[in-house]
Amino acid sequence: MQQMTLNPRIVEIRQNVLKKNDLLARELRKRFRETGVYVVNLVSSPGAGKTTLLTEMLTRLGERYGVAALVGDLATENDAERLRQSGAKVRQITTGTVCHLEADMIERSLEGWNLEDIDFLFIENVGNLVCPASYDLGENQRVVLFSVTEGEDKPVKYPTIVNSADVAVITKIDLAEAVGFQRDRFNEALNEVRPGIPILEVSVRTGEGIDEWISRLEAAKEAFEKTVGSS
């Protein structure tokens, strides 16, 4: 039996380590599709203005659509409280020590909600530009947010999350001049890591770019409904 130890057995696996998450995300995506829920996953650093923009989106879209939000946070309920004032269905996902959201957290948080009543579901990921990149949450689009105060090299510092995003939204654009925001350099940096990524500039304070952003979401939802209808 000695040669067996010299000939160690190899078992082929070829399995994605995040298979469980990805399978669950696929199931969620199917459920969202069947019930007509358009899902947007928002990722950013802490302080990029995610909650402020989300409040605005929930308020505006809430006038015409069923809107809901899941808010990932390490500990507090503060963000959810702020968001509830918009009148939307809001749930907090307290992750404890986990620095990102996973598909099973989304699934658990949907319990008791009638998805048929929801047109838009926003997922506010934990404020972190590294970890959320690896996890599919069953979303239709992943939006990466940066504020003008973060510096032009931010996309290059966190390339993986930018590369996994579908859209980039630049927030607090009203402060651009004050902080010397170099638009061209920022857009260039985004394109180095995610060639062709659509870039939108918004300011919740002045309202700049918000109409355009909302219309974009509505158009995406409309296109999504067509694919649902044709399936």
Binding site: M4, T5, V11, R14, Q15, V130
Partner: protein, 127 residues
């Protein structure tokens, strides 16, 4: 640090596979890690060593194969490996391209184990 969650998943898959294959002892896990996987290699190695304590994988090695980014260049009409994951430009003609063919892998592709129980491995070769 999501590498800890990933290390847990890795160990879970490996333990299950080893049991199904009746592999009593796992010597090594072979993992393909893409440059765009969003996983920091050192953090994963550290997490792995912590997570395997007290599991059937205790003492196993994690062997990581780095997978570079491979993109399709619309100008050259060819696939090219990038020397660095970013910038996303064709290394031959410099055209920007976001068509990623490889580099997102986070794949456990094989386990290496001893045939018999641990005692077999401890015996010196019979010469």
């Amino acid at each position: 640090m999501h590498e800890l969650s990933i290390a847990h998943s890795l160990v879970e898959i490996a333990v299950e596979t080893a049991e199904n294959a009746r592999m009593k002892r796992v010597k090594a896990l072979y993992l393909k890690l893409g440059a765009l996987s969003g996983v920091v290699k050192e953090a994963l190695e550290f997490s792995f060593d912590v997570v395997i304590q007290g599991t059937p994988l205790e003492g196993a090695r994690l062997v990581i194969e780095d997978v570079p980014v491979k993109v399709f260049c619309p100008d050259c009409q060819e696939a090219h490996k990038l020397p660095e994951p970013f910038p996303m430009r064709c290394p031959v003609c410099g055209t920007r391209t976001g068509q990623v063919l490889e580099g997102r892998e986070l794949e456990l592709y094989s386990l290496e184990g001893g045939e018999g129980d641990a005692a077999d491995d401890a015996k010196p070769p019979n010469c």
